[in-house]
């Protein structure tokens, strides 16, 4: 154990490099061949399979599992990529426990689903190092601008490029991948997988990446509309919600997404500072990921405080269990009322809550948690949008084919209305937008 393990304040090197490496290794170990075949053998090849319906990208799960069982994982990978070009990342990050695996008939039969996610990873991993499996159609001469290189943008770009259109991706950051690169928990996407997958995806050809190009600053929607035959917006949610409390700007009060982004980009996690006592506010996947990773970095006490009951948490039961298993404490039914700071954070005060007649009420009784670091994980929202775009709630309004109200402009992923904010949903929407863009450009619509 290194010296600073129990040091107060926000400091680096609480645990040694070996421990750090093991803490951030794969959450789900990849299968070896034998394990994959045994796991695949359990699939019943269901008719009109429920798992397939539950998958937002409708991957033909029974078929790809059978292809693994019959010794052709490469064919299985093609089956997956036909529907979901980021099938490799989705295999790692999908909350399968609330998607395909939740409805697997073997979950019904034995309480143990076929491990679809891990099988998907087994299949997709076999071809990641090989040549790109799809061929581009002859070029059509049509051009498509994609804004944002996250899952939605990449899925859209790949599909339109495959159809023969020329694509330019405009990405605000210096690196692609979106939250695959900056948001997903490190133990879900190990060994720089997001960048490897991005490179592999670009193997289709016909996609030009332009980094450091931000819509609203460096480029404008009207400009893109002039220069391209179609525009796809996949900017995700770039702003974060605020607590609106005093001292929110105090040192060590941070936004969870930025913390995770910094963690994902760190070359050496032993150099990444973390508090001794950490509080995370929120109840979604981001809160869990921030809490768990804070703990794995060596924080002694991590508490996630959520304002509603545990069953209302957006994070799945599996994720809640994971947090608790890693030693993270979950406190529910408590809402932050004060940030205690003397320039630097020292504690946070919460009031208990209760649901009365369907509305959440803050009670008078409070408690205070001493802490030297606090992460806000209370949701992300849309950043500044071009005025022409119609909104639905707090997102860009789109129809069933991902069209926005502006002709020639499509949107998908977290920035667009409809669907859960998940990687796999972003892929589905990007892909569907691409199909509609293709149909439109080729004159079918």
């Amino acid at each position: 154990m290194t010296q600073s393990a129990r040091a107060n304040g926000v400091t680096a090197g609480r645990i040694d490099a070996t421990q750090m490496q093991s803490n951030f290794s794969d959450l789900h170990e990849p299968y070896d061949v034998h394990e994959a075949v045994v796991a695949a053998d359990r699939c019943y090849f269901c008719h009109d399979a429920p798992c397939m319906t539950a998958c937002p990208t409708s991957i033909d799960i029974p078929l790809f599992i059978r292809q693994i069982a019959t010794g052709t994982p490469e064919a299985a990978a093609t089956t997956i990529f036909n529907q979901n070009i980021l099938g490799g990342m989705c295999a790692r990050v999908c909350p399968t426990e609330t998607l395909c695996e939740e409805v697997c008939v073997r979950e019904t039969a034995e309480g143990k689903p076929v491990e679809i996610g891990r099988l998907q990873r087994f299949a997709t991993d076999t071809v990641m190092s090989k040549a790109h499996p799809f061929k581009r159609a002859a070029t059509t001469g049509k051009t498509v601008a994609v804004v944002g290189a996250g899952p939605a943008g990449l899925a859209c770009a790949h599909r339109v490029a495959m159809m023969g259109h020329d694509v330019v991706i405009f990405e605000a950051r210096a690196k692609g991948g979106g939250l695959n690169e900056f948001g997903i928990a490190a133990y879900k996407s190990t060994n720089d997988f997001a960048q490897d997958e991005l490179d592999w995806l670009l193997g289709i050809g016909g996609i030009e990446m332009r980094y450091g190009q931000s819509l609203g600053q460096d480029i404008s929607l009207t400009g893109l509309q002039q220069d391209f035959d179609a525009v796809f917006l996949g900017m995700g949610l770039s702003a974060v919600n605020a607590l609106s409390l005093d001292n929110e700007a105090a040192e060590n009060v941070e936004d969870a997404v930025s913390f995770i982004g910094a963690l994902r980009q760190a070359d050496d996690l032993t150099k990444l500072p973390i508090g001794r006592r950490v509080v995370v506010i929120g109840g979604g996947m981001t809160a869990i990921d921030a809490g768990v990773q804070a703990k794995l970095l060596g924080a002694e006490e991590v508490t996630i405080v959520y304002r509603r009951g545990q069953n209302a948490m957006a994070a799945s039961e599996f994720e809640q269990d994971l947090a608790q298993q890693k030693g993270v404490k979950l406190v529910c039914n408590a809402s932050p009322v004060a940030i205690v700071a003397d320039g630097r954070l020292t504690a946070a005060t919460f009031a208990y809550t209760e649901v009365q007649d369907g509305t959440l009420v803050t009670l008078d009784e409070t408690f205070t948690l001493p802490c030297d670091q606090l992460f806000k994980a209370i949701g992300q929202t849309l950043g500044d949008m071009p005025e022409a775009l119609g909104l639905k709630g707090r997102k860009i309004a789109v129809d069933a084919t991902q069209k926005t109200n502006v002709p020639g402009v499509w949107a998908g992923g977290d920035c667009a209305s409809g669907g859960d904010d998940l990687t796999v949903t972003a892929v589905a929407e990007g892909r569907d937008a691409a199909m509609d863009i293709h149909a439109t450009l080729m004159g079918a619509n």
Partner: protein
Amino acid sequence: MADLTSEFVGIKSPNPFWLASAPPTDKEYNVRRAFEAGWGGVVWKTLGAEGPPVVNVNGPRYGAIWGADRRLLGLNNIELITDRPLEVNLAEMTRVKKDYPDRALVASVMVPCEEQAWKEILPRIAETGCDGFELNFGCPHGMAERGMGSAVGQVPEYIEMVTRWCKETTSLPVIVKLTPNITNILQPAQAAKDGGADAVSLINTINSITSVNLDTMSPEPMIDGKGTHGGYCGPAVKPIALNMVAEIARSAGTAGIPISGIGGVTTWRDAAEFMALGAGNVQVCTAAMTYGFKIVQEMISGLSQWMDEQGHTSVQDIVGRAVPNVTDWQYLNLNHVTKARIDQDACIKCGRCYAACEDTSHQAISMSEDRVFEVQDDECVACNLCVNVCPVDNCITMETLSAGATDERTGKVVSDDYANWTTHPNNPGATAAE
């Protein structure tokens, strides 16, 4: 991607996967859905003579055996040929063929063993636009009691006679479907060839009783307290079918006659194996009945991936590739010495290999106090039993001793000369090696 288009006795289909004559091909609804799912062709459920159709039992038709996890391994049935009127089937076949001209549609036929019956029905069926005929000489139950099906298929002279009648009647290809319920498959195959058949297809189902109900003391499937033998098919029959196909493909008299391989085809690999042993295409029944028509997608993707990997560009490329390597026991190389090898990293220490070898074979596997299992080369006869009982794939493999190494069991130095039983000193009939 490899080209899977297939041409079998002049009948073209987009892939070599046909549905065998059976319930999956019993009606227009099924066949249309099968074609939509991707099947290359169908052999329509066996048609009978005009007039009131046969009737089926109204109780269970199937018996089954299962492997672990209730995986269906063998199916037995007591179904007869189509129980729908001839005209209905013909009208449906006509419509389907018209809508799917690129798919193979072959009519399976079984009428009484009379010249007139065969010569009348074939031209009528040909009007549907079907691509050929398959003569059902295989059905082992029910129809056989009426002098048809395997009752014909078990008498080579009848096969030859009926085949000849058919060939005299139609210019379409005639495939003779053989029953495995005989002792030597070469005789019916030869008879079909002599009668002028364009091809043989095999196997039809095998006489069987899958289980006995110990409460009612009757075989399953049980109809009102009684049962009868049925026809066995599915993965369990594949080895029997493969051997019969290989025998026809490699025997002087029958070699060269096109073969449609049937019996337990469930995955692309099964199909590739049939084709390697000489089948020009394959037919599938039980796998489709177990998993649905969609199963063909795995067969298509798997076969084409494997062909790509092997550099085979057409289906014809693989047909019969393994036939030259099917030989008689007496020609196997007795100087080829192998030993079992256990991969200690893969071993899960279940001890099954030990039990098998120690109790029932050659005492060639040792077991230590801490459950390490090791092959004793001085006892291992290389029987391969341990490989087959080990639950971990590839955990035990057979290693070939190279020439010059000493076989610790016999004390002999391994030679790379080929030497078989025909020249072995222990063989009283040995011919001296020259």
